[in-house]
């Protein structure tokens, strides 16, 4: 029989998350972020967090909510535009920021979950990113050594999940969630639809439940859109 990972909501899911911990949070921009867990982290009021996440949300949503409350001490991200409060805290030195290339961030998380301590990549060679890192040539091309990332807790968001913790993501909301699920010592998955084990097609699962320690049914998803870009039917038919 499958091992149940189900917990009852975000409060139970975040049990044990403490100040000073390193957290991973899935999502790209506001797409595929663990909204419910972030809400609970804000409510808990824990501080001095190191957050590993591709972006830092916007001023009043996503990780921006934790920044507003000064709960984050250090951000590890690839792109942090679109957030004035973040920029203010960074330029004033209140917030420590480690910017790393997006592909290296993804691979460092994957490596952390896969038991690979470090790897060489060409990304960032000859730039600030390479400072203090070992350089080695392979087939005549220089590479830098990047180390794996892990976290005390990883927070991911999926479209569907079953009681065994198996996850399926929707469209581009997948992004960093699968690697972060692998790299968390405790991984907490929140899903839009929690179904009984045996309901999901095993051929179609993106994250195997072995990487997930706790799963819960999320609620009241806002799923904010950062840049609403559309085609207008009238303009198109006139053209």
């Amino acid at each position: 029989m499958a091992i149940s990972k189900v917990v009852n909501g975000s409060i139970a899911a975040c049990d044990g998350v403490k100040s000073g911990m390193t957290l991973m949070l899935g999502g790209f921009g506001l797409c595929g972020i663990p909204e419910c867990s972030i809400g609970e982290l804000v409510r808990l009021g824990i501080k001095d967090l190191t957050c590993i996440s591709n972006n830092a949300g916007v001023d009043d949503f996503g990780l921006g909510l934790l920044l507003q409350q000064r709960q984050i001490r250090k951000m590890i991200s690839s792109y942090v535009g679109e957030n004035d409060e973040f920029e203010r805290q960074m330029l004033s030195g209140e917030l420590e920021v480690d910017l790393i290339p997006q592909g290296s961030l993804a691979e460092r998380c994957r490596a952390g979950g896969a038991g690979i301590p470090a790897f060489y990549t060409p990304a960032g060679f000859g730039t600030e990113v390479a400072a203090g890192k070992e350089v080695r040539e392979f087939e005549g091309k220089p590479h830098i050594l990047e180390s794996a990332l892990t976290a005390d807790f990883a927070f991911v968001k999926a479209w569907k999940g079953d009681t065994a913790g198996n996850l399926i993501y929707k469209a581009t909301a997948r992004n960093f969630n699968p690697m972060m699920a692998m790299a968390g010592r405790i991984t907490i998955a929140e899903v839009e639809e929690l179904v009984p084990e045996g309901t999901l097609n095993p051929n179609e699962i993106h994250t195997p439940g072995i990487f997930v320690q706790r799963i819960f049914q999320g609620e009241r998803y806002e799923k904010r859109i950062e840049q609403r870009t559309v085609r207008n039917r009238e303009t198109a038919s006139n053209a």
Binding site: Q102, S104, A106, Y169, T172, N175, I225
Partner: protein, 218 residues
Amino acid sequence: MLDKNGIAKRIAQEVRAGWYVNLGIGIPTLVANFIPEGMEVEFQSENGILGMGPFPWEGEEDADLINAGKQTITAMPGAVYFDSATSFAMIRGQHVQLTVLGAMEVAQNGDIANWKIPGKMVKGMGGAMDLVASAENIIVAMMHTNRAGESKMLPSCSLPLTGVGCVRRVVTNLAVLDIREGAFHLVERAPGVSVEEIAAATAGKLVIPDAVPEMRIN
């Protein structure tokens, strides 16, 4: 002189059937609008989609379907979604045939800077460092000069680098230039732009051949 759409049109002429193409934020995104109907080309966005389509019809936006610029998009028939590690495996592993991205500065040795202005603007490099470090074929799309009128085509970059010696071709509002052997080589002039104007706007070493044809843009 070209506007942003003109630059995108010229770059679209570089795209070949059968290619997977990654378009950066800004002018590069516009390139997709000028690919000939029926040409077999797939656009990759590094947040996790191959087969990116146009913006959705009003009312059909999906918060779960965006491009790397966080804009709502659609998926073409045959599209596929994947995670960020797989996405950068496509990029680092050189499975993407063409990368088009913007820049703040390009140097005559192919260096590019586009992610940071110390003390002023620090948004981060996103996927740009991975893209420029691995792509075989990189085209930079940008204005030839900055808002202050200063050249962005330099002997060496003054801003923190995104990548070293990686840019092969630059398409600006004034010209198409190739980078090789430590110099910008003028390839084409934008409509109505003289060689002298291009030379005046290029701070880096510029090699001018005897004949410099005007771009054909329709």
